[in-house]
Structure formats: structure tokens, C-alpha cells
Symmetry: C2
């Protein structure tokens, strides 16, 4: 029996109704998370746990609803009259449905139980700086993750299946290509910079900066960049993050340290980048999968575009300098130039042990190292017990420094303690996407750097809204989006070229 | 076949699991509501609406889950081995189940639609001060409410069925008894006081009070009364209210006006009373119906006990006076005595048109008036079109003043626009419960008034925790709780005696 366009439309509408309902519940889950980090009184932890579990149960039931599966099956066979956005919705909703229904309850429960145990073990192990205390928990994560991946798609390498959760459409074969190129480009550059360490003066920036004034400055900067308080909030939390419940309700947080002005400032710009991506989503497809962020890497590209390509540039230093002078006249009111500020912001440190403290040059090598290790864990070529040794060897080779202990080495990141394999690469993919996107925007927007120097960010924001934010998840991968926006898939050479030229100038290499 | 204790226990455990899950979801609903009033950015109203609807749908499905009905049926037949708390859970869960399942979907949808229309019509009518614009909407509420009541229990008067939603176990027959007594006691007293209006000086309290200082003072008072910030928050919102997600997460709000110090202060104490009831719940029965508040009237008794019986008393004025002097030395630093403060706090105004602005003497008559009218609407003895006339006649008779227009008369309250019939009486029941409970606590706690004067509230709080808060919904009605706590069902004469003696002294009647 032929299916009429009308039938397809009705089935699709039913699907959308279910997907929007699910999206609303996920928005509520976002509120619970934000509230827990920013507002919840400490004594409510247990009841909040029960609330999150109750909501997760409801969401799970809706995600695995057999009626949803039937609607998707029908629509995958016949999409007469539907446009590409609708097709993308069906495609992504089906993918989520397959993932949600693939994992047996028993495995899901074992994973949930291991989350708490493993996190605790990691906290203890890091405190004692003793990897062996965490090793058995990590081994169990490796086993559970392989088991899970096999249920989702046993025809693909386990690592690729996991990777897809964070970076849609990405594979380890493609990452190998990318990261070998990055490694070969960066390792000699880092060595060259290390020989010039100390040639840029940034000691003058050190000092004590009132946190209230930092917060005021950062709010002003976030609003200048385009963060919209009608559709969002700005609060303070222990760790900066961007959450919220919906593109019309995006909540970013910042935090400030008295003795580190630039850290709070770059974190605020970083979160603003995430927040602008969220606020910029296309409300014509509100509540549908096609309107969600494409991937973690693309999300990170938006934070890093504003943080590194914009806020760490010389034009931005020209915009920032008078603002700093107004808030902290004793430090910035005198003869400090935008050039001096720019240089101080971009200092590379001699020792780069900790990923989250790394600059834009060394950061990628922290990721390459982690990628090589976690990929090896998944395909069996790396054993858990060898991790500390391999970690330190790679640190020496890639970053010319060896961690003095496990806490500052293999135990520094929380990710593996939560079973997040395939997550790390997205940080560096984000940095590379950011460079490529930014360079394209510079071609598209005449006088962009002059605009930045004058504090006019609206053209860049509008361009990102149009080309990245509103496009949501229409494409199937970061590469596809890059192709659509910049004319080429991700090209690490663009990133390497940017880094080389910037730091050759800064360090007179 | 005989049912073993073990079977009963297992069935009961299953019931509790479902009820706790439901309670967690209701807690989430509390968070959505609080957030909307206190935190949500304005542009998020539409998405929040969708989130609330999605969650309401989930809650409805769980409330009407046939498995829940089966568990309840089984347990209502056999409760071998269960204690009185378990029985109360079964009793109240069954009552909620019957109510949730009684109303046909079609009627529920008509009610939901009318909520928005009617509220808008009321806003417009009040703005135009024209009752006729609201009359058809009110008539529809009367019809819908009768229809709804008949579905829940067609053997009882519609008004009694509605009343039970707010004041469990209360009937209109009992309210008639109570309110006739209140009316006969208060009307002559009010007339007597009116002849002495102006004999208490409170002009000196008027002035401008910095709101930040008011907030600081009120926070101190709330903490002194026993509000626990480990299990709650204190914020500012347009209308003060107490919400939250759980007894370990109680969120109260206050608001302050520069030109009205006492208003913000009494509102803060009022909300603290609600909050202490919430924080005081018995966590042994966490998430179960027996652990919820007994009724709106009992909830209000806790806010009014602290607001009126404690904070408007002379001993409290002794505690408060030095605090006021510390925060507002220009006004309270001089020769003002606690007695003068006490008198100023308890002034009765000549004209009492607006319920929410009424003092503790006239307040009850505003309620008697509304009760008589809404009861008449339900039994057909009062016609919607006659409301403005009847309202004004009763105002003159009970409160010696006539509203100049509908906006300040019959249109002043939002309740009827939302179809809330049977809600008003709980305010006055709360005041009467409060008096009776407070007088009992005074007998039970030697030196209570001296403690209050010294700012020591912990014994009173502990007594209320033990006798009211922890008891939750164990009893079937406010009367039953009153009997258990004070030895007698609600006795309006206790309230009248308190009012008479206090105001006879204040106004030298």
C-alpha cells in the first residue's frame, strides 16, 4: 500500500511531539544540574540524587518507548514530502533510539554502580598519588566500555563506537591521521619555544585583583560579546560551566581568583562562547534533535574561537586594555600597551604538566598523549598497569617534562574515572575547528580585526549564528560542517600554521 | 487464601517505592516553580511552560497508574503487621488516587483551558474595575467546579468536596458553626475598636528604610527563629513565598519596601513559619504522603503562629527593639520603648478594604464574607451577578466600610479567577489553629515569653517540630490534630478570647 504524503506528515508530527516532550524533560534535567552546582543547599544532596534518578528513569522510559521505535521505523522507510531538516531529525532520533535500547538493563545498572565506586577510588588514589589504587577500577571501566560498545555496534572498533557519543561521525582512523600531523608539527615547535622561555615579560601582570571588580569586568565583556541576559543568567560557581534548560535559558558561570586576573577572564570568554552557541540555536526546530549541538568538538570550537582566536589576539588586547585600566587603574592605568598585554596573555611556560593549565601551544600534545593511551586501552595494545610509565615517557617526548608523581601525571583528569573514553580528542578538535572557522569568518567579514579592536563583536556573532549555531545537527560530522562552512574538511595544517606564525613572531623563532 | 504478613510487607514496600518516585517528581516540580519566580530569565517563559506541561504529564501518568491502584486495593483489604503510619499512607495515597482517576480527561482539559482564559479576564476586569467583564468566566468556574466535584464524590455537597482539597476533613457544616461564632464575636469588637481609631501612635515608624539593611535584619531574625540554611535558601522575589523541593531543600523568599519596614519584617517571619514546618518534617517517612503537610490551614497555622502569636507580641518587641536600633539607629536608637514598638505593630486601621493588608482583628471577617459568598455560589443560593452587591453589603455590615469600586471589592483576590473555591477558609482556620496551638505551647514550655524576649526560640521550635511538624499527615483533619495536641478540637472561642483580651488592653475598650 502506497503511503501518502499526508500519512508521512502525520507520522512525523507524532514523532516530533514525542521528541519535544523528551527535550523538555532533558531541559528539566539541565535545571537540576545547574541548580545543584549553583544554588542548592548542601543538605539537599541526597534528595537531589533521588530526584535525578526519578527523572532519569522517566527519560529512559521515553527514550526507549516502543511507540517511538515504530514511528521511526515507519519514517525511515518513507519520507515523501519531508525536507532535509526532518530527515536529519529522523536520522539522529533513530541513532539515539538504537543506542538507548541496545544496552541491557543489567549492564546499565553495573555501569551506574561502577560510576560512584570508581570516582571515589580515583579521588582517593589521586590524594595518595598512587595509580595502583585506581588501576583495578580503570580496568573495570575498560571491560564495561568494551561490553557496552559491542552491544551498540559490534562491527566497529569499540573506541570508534564510544567516540561517536562525543564526536559524531569521527573515527579512530581519521583521528590517527589528524593527531600524527599535529604531533609532528608541534613537537619541534614546542622544543624551539622552550629554548626561548623567559624572553616575554609577564611578571608585571601578577598582583591582587578584587574579585568583585573582576566579576564586573567579565560581565561587561560577556555582554559586549553578545551574551543575552533575557535568555540567560550569569552566576558564580566553583568550576565555570555553561548549562541551562533551553536556548532561551542558558546559564553560564564564572569564578575568580584574587591572584589570577587572566585566568578568570579567559574562562569567562570561554563560557560565553559555549553560551552563544546555545543561545544561537534555531527555534524553528525547537526541541528536536536536529537543533541540538553537533558535537562536543564543535561546542568546544565555539568556546575556543572566542577564547583563543578572539580574546588572545592583539586586536582584543586593544579593546580590553582601556577596560582593564578602568577597573584596575593602579595596574593598567599607566603606560602599559596593548602589545605588552597581548604578549603577557600568550606566554608559554617552561613546564606544562597539567592539561587544564596548558596554553594553546602545548594543550594539543596533552590530548595526543591521552588519545594514544586510551585508544590503546580499548584495542588491547596498552595495558592498564603500564599507563604511568607510558604517560611519563610520552610527557618527556612531547612536552619535554616529566611529572614528579601520579597525581600530577596519569591521575590528573577526572574523565577516565567516569568511564569517558573518546572524550579527550574533542578538546583539540575544538581548537582546530575554531582556527579554521575563525579564518573563514575573517575572509567573510571585512575589517573583522578592526571591529574586534573597537569592541564591536556583533558581525562575528551574527556570522557564527548563521553558519554554525543555527545549523545545529543538520550535518553528520564536524568534517561535514567544516566542508560546508570553510570549503574543506578539518585540516590540522590550518591550526599548525596559525600556531607557528603567532608564536614565531612572539618568540622571534 | 490467607495473606501473610510477609506478603503485606512486600506489597507495601512496592507501594512506597512508587509513592517516593512520585514525590521526587513533585519535588522537581517545586524546583521549576521556585526557579521561575526567583531565577529564570524572562525570555524563558515559553520553554518553561513546555517543561512544566511535560512534567505534569509524567506526574499524571504516575498518579493514575493502574498498578498503583491495584497495590492500594490489595492493601486496603489487608494491613496485617503494618503500623498507623503505614495505614495513613495507604489511606491518603488511596484518596489521591481516587481524585486523580475520577476526573475524565475531557473535563481536565476544559479546566486547564479555562484557567488561562479566566485569569486573563480577571486581570482585565480588575484593571477596568468592572465585575461584569469577569462574571461569565466566574460562572463557568462554578459550573466546572460542580461538575468536577460530582465526579469525585457525588454524595457530598460540591463545596465540601472542593474544601477537602485544601482542608482535609473539613465540611461546610463545621465551617458554618465556626464562622458564625467568629462573626458574632468579631463584629461588635471591630465596631468598638473603630470608635477608638487614632488612639495609638504609629506615625513615628513611618520613614525610609534601606532595603539591604532590612534584608540583613530579616535574615538574622529568620536564622534566630531556627531557619536552617544547610537545608534551605533565602532569596528575594516579587511576592514572598515558601517553596523548594524537599524538607532538606526549603526555599523561602522575602521582599522589602523602602517605606514599609514592618511589612517586610512580618512577611519574613510569616514565611519562616512555613519554612520551619517544611524543614521539620519526619525523614523516617521521607517521600510518603503521611509526611506531607496536613492541610493548608495547618500550614498557615505555622506561619501565623510565628507571625502573630510570636512576632506581634510584646516579648518579641523586646527582642526586636535592640536589633532595630542596631540596623536603623536614627529611628530606633533613641528612646523608643518595646511597648511603643508593640503598639505600633498592632494598630487597627479605620478602613479595611483589602484582605491582604488587613490586621489580625479584621482579617477573619474578610474570610467569613468570602466563605459565605463562595458557599452560596456552590449551593445555588448566591448568583454570580449579585456578587458585587452582596460583597459591598457584607463589607458594610462586617467591617463598617464599603469599597469604592469592584477592583477594591469583589475583584481584589486572584483565587476565584483560578477556580479556587474552598481555599479562603484555610487562612482563618490557620489563625485560629495558631492561637490554640500557641497557648498550648505556652503551658508546655515554662518561661516561653521570657525566652522570646531574650531571642531564644529553640524550645518553641522543638515543641512545634515534635507536636506538629513531625506528625505530618498522620491525622485525618485539623480538628483531629488539634485534639491530639491541645486536648480539644478547634475552638473559635480561644481565638476570640485572645483577640478580645489583646485589643481591649491596646485600645482601652
Amino acid at each position: 500500500m502506497a503511503v501518502s504524503e499526508q500519512n508521512v506528515k502525520e507520522t512525523y508530527d507524532k514523532l516530533c511531539e514525542k521528541l519535544k516532550d523528551l527535550s523538555s524533560l532533558q531541559g528539566i534535567s539541565g535545571l537540576l544540574g545547574w541548580d545543584e552546582m549553583v544554588m542548592m543547599p548542601s543538605g539537599a544532596a541526597a534528595s537531589r540524587g533521588a530526584q535525578k534518578a526519578a527523572l532519569a528513569g522517566v527519560v529512559y522510559d521515553k527514550e526507549t518507548d516502543p511507540e517511538l521505535g515504530q514511528l521511526l521505523d515507519t519514517l525511515r522507510k518513507e519520507q515523501k514530502g519531508l525536507d532535509e531538516w526532518a530527515s536529519a531529525n529522523i536520522r539522529d532520533a533513530h541513532k539515539s533510539y538504537v543506542k538507548a535500547t541496545a544496552i541491557p538493563k543489567d549492564l546499565a545498572q553495573r555501569i551506574a554502580r561502577h560510576e560512584t565506586d570508581s570516582y571515589q577510588a580515583w579521588v582517593e588514589a589521586r590524594k595518595a598519588s598512587d595509580f595502583s589504587k585506581f588501576a583495578p577500577y580503570l580496568q573495570k571501566w575498560v571491560d564495561l566500555s568494551k561490553e557496552k560498545a559491542a552491544f551498540i555496534d559490534s562491527t566497529k572498533p569499540a573506541y570508534d563506537v564510544l567516540l561517536d557519543n562525543y564526536e559524531k561521525g569521527m573515527t579512530s582512523a581519521r583521528l590517527d591521521e589528524i593527531f600524527v600531523q599535529v604531533r609532528e608539527g608541534l613537537v619541534p615547535l614546542i622544543a624551539a619555544i622552550k629554548s626561548k622561555i623567559g624572553t616575554i615579560d609577564d611578571a608585571w601582570v601578577k598582583g591582587t585583583y578584587e574579585t568583585e571588580k573582576q566579576a564586573e569586568l567579565c560581565k561587561q565583556v560577556a555582554l559586549d560579546l553578545g551574551f543575552n541576559l533575557e535568555n540567560g543568567r550569569l552566576d558564580v560557581s566553583v568550576h565555570p560551566f555553561t548549562g541551562g534548560t533551553h536556548p532561551t535559558d542558558v546559564r553560564m558561570t564564572t569564578r575568580f581568583k584574587q591572584d589570577d586576573l587572566l585566568d578568570g577572564l579567559t574562562a569567562a570568554v570561554h563560557e560565553t562562547g559555549h553560551a552563544l552557541y546555545e543561545q544561537g540555536r534555531n527555534l524553528n526546530y525547537d526541541g528536536l534533535p536536529v537543533n541540538s549541538s553537533l558535537s562536543m568538538g564543535i561546542h568546544e570550537s565555539q568556546s575556543l574561537l572566542w577564547e583563543r582566536m578572539v580574546a588572545l589576539s592583539l586586536p582584543f588586547a586593544k579593546y580590553l586594555k582601556p577596560k582593564l585600566a578602568a577597573h584596575f587603574p593602579e595596574k593598567f592605568g599607566g603606560e602599559v600597551t596593548a602589545e605588552e598585554l597581548y604578549k603577557a596573555e600568550n606566554v608559554v611556560r617552561d613546564v606544562s604538566l597539567i592539561r587544564v593549565e596548558a596554553d594553546e601551544v602545548t594543550y594539543a600534545m596533552h590530548i595526543v598523549l591521552r588519545y594514544e593511551l586510551e585508544r590503546g586501552l580499548m584495542d588491547g595494545s596498552v595495558k592498564v598497569e603500564d599507563l604511568p610509565r607510558l604517560w611519563n615517557e610520552k610527557m618527556e617526548k612531547y612536552l619535554c617534562c616529566v611529572p614528579p608523581n601520579d597525581a600530577q601525571g596519569v591521575l590528573q583528569d577526572v574523565h577516565w574515572s567516569m568511564g569517558l573514553f573518546g572524550y579527550f580528542p574533542t578538546y583539540s578538535l575544538g581548537a582546530m575547528y575554531a582556527t579554521q572557522i575563525y579564518l573563514r569568518s575573517k575572509d567573510a567579514i571585512p575589517g573583522l580585526e578592526e571591529q574586534i579592536a573597537e569592541g564591536e563583536f556583533k558581525h562575528l556573532k551574527a556570522w557564527l549564528n548563521e553558519n554554525i549555531h543555527k545549523v545545529g545537527s543538520l550535518h553528520t560530522s564536524g568534517d561535514e560542517l567544516m566542508k560546508a562552512v570553510t570549503g574543506s574538511v578539518l585540516d590540522p595544517e590550518v591550526f599548525l600554521g596559525y600556531i607557528r606564525s603567532k608564536y614565531t613572531a612572539l618568540y622571534s623563532l
